[in-house]
Subunit: 144 residues, 2 copies
């Protein structure tokens, strides 16, 4: 199972806003870059907006970053697009047998262990900003 590509698309969108900052960046234009449907882009941009990462207004083409891109981390985007929603990244089988020693304790035991691993991942995502992403894209572009 894989994590929703909404995450990667969210990063793509923010990077595109910077690289293409002279343009209007309508949902249709962004959709062409991502290669998907404009409605999908609008939905994801709506999530980024709700998280305070971009500014966008109805009827006006284009979106703008709501803060400096060096202040937006991959973790911010990860949270914004609700990759895991209210649920945990790791799912635990529910309703194990309460008549069994392991069954009645396994959930309480492994949940914090799984959370620790999830937090380690999120911390790693905190170390990379959209600015880093843009820099890397432009570096790769210059080399070619």
């Amino acid at each position: 199972m894989s994590i929703s590509s909404r995450f990667a698309v969210g990063v793509h969108i923010l990077a595109l806003l910077e690289v293409n900052k002279g343009e209007a960046n309508s949902s249709e234009f962004i959709a062409a870059s991502v290669n998907t449907n404009p409605a999908v882009i609008r939905k994801i941009i709506g999530m980024l907006k709700k998280a305070g990462l971009v500014n966008v207004r109805p009827g006006i083409a284009g979106a703008q970053p709501a803060k400096n891109l060096s202040e937006i981390t991959l973790h911010d985007v990860y949270k914004a697009v609700q990759v895991v929603q209210e649920k945990e990244l790791f799912s635990v089988h529910d309703q194990p047998n309460p008549d069994c020693t392991v069954g009645r304790n396994i959930q309480d035991t492994i949940t914090p262990m799984f959370s620790a691993a999830e937090q380690a991942m999120e911390k790693a995502l905190d170390n990379v900003t959209i600015s880093d992403v843009v820099d890397d894209i432009l570096r790769k572009e210059a080399v070619q």
Copy 2:
């Protein structure tokens, strides 16, 4: 999206083998503790066997850990049950527009970033062994 509960079930099975080590631990018995179907248990045990974590033989009831439980980490189980198979934990949208600067570089840019986060998570899973899980279960059980 959540990571397959196969992972949690795999941990459950290994812990049960230890806590209940006097018994036969047939797939039917384990299924009752996990609260699922015996065939599901057999499939997961088969994966654990292939990874060298348990010993089990056709026709003979029960499975046994193939090594000391303090030498089996959550990461070992994670890999054994193929939570992410050959794919990455993070999925990247494919076929972004090659005519766009961001589109033709985004995949190569974010893939290693995502991998780093994934590895941070796996490293955290390496810090916990099945022995730790069993100890915690028995500790919780004693308190009640």
